[in-house]
Subunit: 150 residues, 3 copies
């Protein structure tokens, strides 16, 4: 096992927003470069980066971000929660995105990544992705909160 790294001091909490457009229908936006840039800028000696998707039709996860996986992940949702089956949400409300809501609830809106010396401790091929599960294009904001010791 590697050595224990202990850091103590005043607490720092830095809250940022990352904004972008998403295309809907399981469009996946790779936000890793921007998050790495913010992590470098804020340079926590140790702490966490919380990535949170506000809204009921977006979600956060990590993926190897290459065109094959992006297509495969979209198809996974088409298989487990097809858009073309009946949803009660589509009866209650008129926006036709019942599948979007169950997909977003299943995937979940939050991710927490440990940081050391300003670097998110991701694996080599692991990229942080916003998944737009809505049925239409949207303007999106993701909350990124750094919490730790400088």
């Amino acid at each position: 096992m590697a050595a224990t790294n202990t850091v103590t001091g005043e607490m720092v909490v830095i809250t940022e927003r990352v904004e972008f457009s998403s295309a809907g229908n399981c469009d996946i936006t790779n936000i890793t470069a921007e998050l790495r840039r913010l992590a470098t800028e804020h340079n926590l000696k140790a702490g966490t980066m919380t990535v949170f998707a506000p809204g009921a039709t977006g979600a956060i996860t990590t993926l190897e971000f290459e065109p094959g996986v992006v297509q495969d992940f979209k198809r996974l949702f088409d298989q487990i929660a097809p858009a073309d089956q009946p949803y009660e949400h589509n009866v209650t409300l008129g926006d036709g995105n019942g599948h979007s809501h169950v997909r977003a609830g299943l995937l979940g809106p939050s991710l927490v990544v440990p940081i050391e010396d300003g670097v998110p401790l991701l694996g080599r091929w692991q990229e942080i992705c916003f998944v737009c599960l809505d049925a239409r294009p949207r303007e999106r904001t993701v909350i990124v909160q750094f919490m730790g010791v400088k």
Copy 2:
């Protein structure tokens, strides 16, 4: 991009329990009002609210909490992990909730929501939900931990 919000100071960690009854079979309890009340009471200038379901048949996520989505989310689990197929857990133990365990493991027990000025940074229609995946009614406790700077 919106302005960076940086807060520094002594660390505060506040641990609370929220208790309620759940009905089983993907019964969904909207605990958002109580969590918002606690967030207002503890009023972190910035930090996180960690919501955690102790136990192997409960999970936490966010949903647009309207009766249609609630029914659709229940059906999602009936489709991807049906109660009426054989489960090894039901052979090993006699409680007949094999489907509950795999559903809870898939959805996951933890959620982390950023807070600013005492307000959880949820989307407008995004509600924090405890999902009871057990096969019977249960008394439930959810841990809510606020961590940040006042």
Copy 3:
């Protein structure tokens, strides 16, 4: 509702690595004993334990860790993202683990568990598990970060 527990003080962030071998194909490693040992050693009065799987084919969740549930969870993934259907990732790259990537993205790499008095607030039968979704055996590292007040 139980009493509010408030702790204040200097922030402590302790980062650890847990290393082990995993067998692939939804092999599940129960890392709870090691995490409890670390939690006892670092003995936060209150705070969180963030458990993070670096890499694009591993994930973290909690399960009742008994042989039945372990088999059932593996079968859940065989049902919702079968290994033997075509994946675009397998066309793009030659490693044949397209199913591994979508499974890992769905389950997610992070878990946050609240701690009080050095004890992770898990349910009685709830164990923290690393799920190896790759198609082959791997050497694995899980990041465990304790954050709170001593």
